[in-house]
């Protein structure tokens, strides 16, 4: 099990250190604080919009999950605003890139 293989299946997971309990991000099998092993768990499917812009008709933005880690994805439903909550509708790997599709929770 690793981040990429789970993401391919449509699961967004995160790595917690089994020793110091901190989240390591980007996801890794080793902690970037104490360098001990991490374990994987499913992460919240809701995050907060930290910043966003738009290309053609597509909104993209930096989304922060669990008040901790961030990833850029596409906001396919709803109109984004700063600090609004989004929910992951679909995730996977597209042409070797992580792909997250999200909708704004009103």
């Amino acid at each position: 099990m690793n981040f990429d293989s789970e993401l391919k299946k449509g699961n967004l997971i995160v790595s917690d250190c089994i020793n110091c309990k901190k989240i390591t991000w980007p996801p890794s099998e080793f902690c970037n604080q104490c360098l001990k092993k991490t374990s994987w768990r499913k992460c919240s499917n809701q995050g907060k919009i930290i910043e966003f812009s738009k290309q053609n008709d597509t909104y993209f933005g930096i989304i922060e999950f669990e008040k901790s880690f961030r990833i850029i994805g596409t906001i396919v439903k709803g109109v984004p605003e700063m600090n609004k909550t989004v929910e992951v509708m679909d995730c996977g790997i597209l042409d070797n890139d992580y792909s997250l599709k999200m909708k704004v929770i009103e």
């Binding site: 991000w25 980007p26 812009s53 290309q55 042409d95 890139d97 992580y98």
Partner: protein, 369 residues
């Protein structure tokens, strides 16, 4: 610890030409030898190459094709601040006594692989630099209530200043309307807000206090060095309306040089995109928070060339590995009063700001005559 001086330099024209990376390095270095008549190959005991090219062993190759057999020879790669980082490495070799005279040569091709950081998967499908620039622009405009017209002035000013730089990619000037009607890349970025990747080379000679006088009557001293890398992931930036790594690098460089931001008479800063200029001015402490565009506007209206006199990256082009070296050469020429039509009035202290990967890493140099 010896002081370290800039004792010579050479540069190529920035272009879109299809030239081998080794030839670009050689051309910039031939120009350096031509500008430094007392320099012979035997004087050089270190050769560093700055490039994001996939070609290997470039410092040994450059050494061989220009007839140097250095003690120290290696490449430096750190995306867009490879150039100043290689200067810092050369500085360290000289100040520690491991070398007396080091040639630093930077080169890039228009199709450099260094333009996109493939590792940063957290950018998702938005890996091209235009996306981080769009997010920086959105954030900066919102926080300080700046309009697109305000940011467009950076491009207008830097293209105008590049018209007096014979090595710039283009000497064409643009109006604010030209910028605002140029191709829309995203909601927050137009084509003319962007610096352009290009082919170009720049070489600089660093020497110890003892040796520099053999090569120049007007050495320029590197009196302050600051570097900071906060992450490799763009999304880990603390904020998107300022540059944390630049603030930290600048603090170190000012402290080392015994100068403050108020002492800086001329600046080459890393305007990879128009928003980067006011953000860098503020993060360097040269402009107050949110007042960077006011400073750009005043400089433009009064024809004060102190911010990016050679045209910055937007005006000159951005051959990644050569950029930091070209910036440093410009400040050295300014401090030698040898910048021709680009000359700023009587500068004594100058600053170079070079950064990489959406400001996750910054290098700041303070230079003085």
């Amino acid at each position: 610890m010896t002081r370290v001086a800039i004792a010579g330099f050479g540069i190529t024209k920035f272009s879109k030409e299809d030239i081998k990376i080794e030839s670009i390095l050689m051309n910039a270095t031939r120009d350096l030898f031509s500008n430094t008549p007392n320099l012979t190959q035997k004087d050089i005991d270190g050769v560093l190459v700055s490039s994001n090219s996939n070609s290997k062993y470039l410092s040994a190759i450059l050494s061989e094709i220009v007839g140097i057999q250095p003690s120290i020879a290696h490449s430096v790669e750190s995306l867009c601040n490879s150039g100043t980082n290689s200067i810092v490495s050369a500085y360290s070799y000289i100040s520690s006594g491991l070398a007396d005279v080091v040639l630093v040569s930077g080169a890039e091709r228009y199709d450099s692989p260094g333009q996109v950081l493939e590792w940063d998967k957290l950018r998702g499908e938005f890996k091209h630099p235009i996306f981080w620039a769009s997010l920086f622009s959105k954030s900066y405009k919102r926080k300080y209530k700046i309009k697109d017209e305000g940011l467009a002035l950076v491009s207008v000013k830097n293209h105008k200043q590049a018209a007096n730089n014979p090595n710039a990619l283009s000497q064409r000037e643009f109006s604010i309307e030209d910028v605002l009607t140029s191709k829309k890349l995203t909601e927050d970025l137009r084509l003319l807000d962007c610096s352009r990747p290009c082919t170009g080379g720049a070489s600089i000679l660093l020497a110890s206090e003892k040796c520099c006088k053999d090569f120049t009557d007007s050495p320029i001293w590197i009196s302050g060095v600051g570097q900071k890398t906060t992450s490799a992931s763009f999304t880990k930036n603390l904020a998107f309306d300022n540059m944390d790594s630049t603030k930290k690098a600048a603090a170190k460089a000012y402290e080392m040089s015994n100068h403050t931001s108020k002492d800086i008479d001329v600046i080459e800063l890393h305007d990879a995109f128009s928003v980067c200029e006011p953000m860098a001015l503020e993060s360097l402490g040269i402009a107050d928070q949110g007042k960077g565009i006011d400073m750009v506007k005043e400089a433009y209206q009064t024809e004060n060339l102190k911010i990016n006199p050679r045209g910055g990256l937007i005006g000159s082009g951005h051959p990644l590995g050569a950029t930091g070296i070209a910036q440093t050469i410009e400040i050295a020429q300014q401090l030698q009063f040898d910048a021709g039509k680009r000359q700023v009035d009587n500068p004594k202290v100058g600053l170079v700001h070079n950064m990489s990967a959406a400001a996750t890493s910054s290098t700041v140099l303070v230079l003085e005559s």
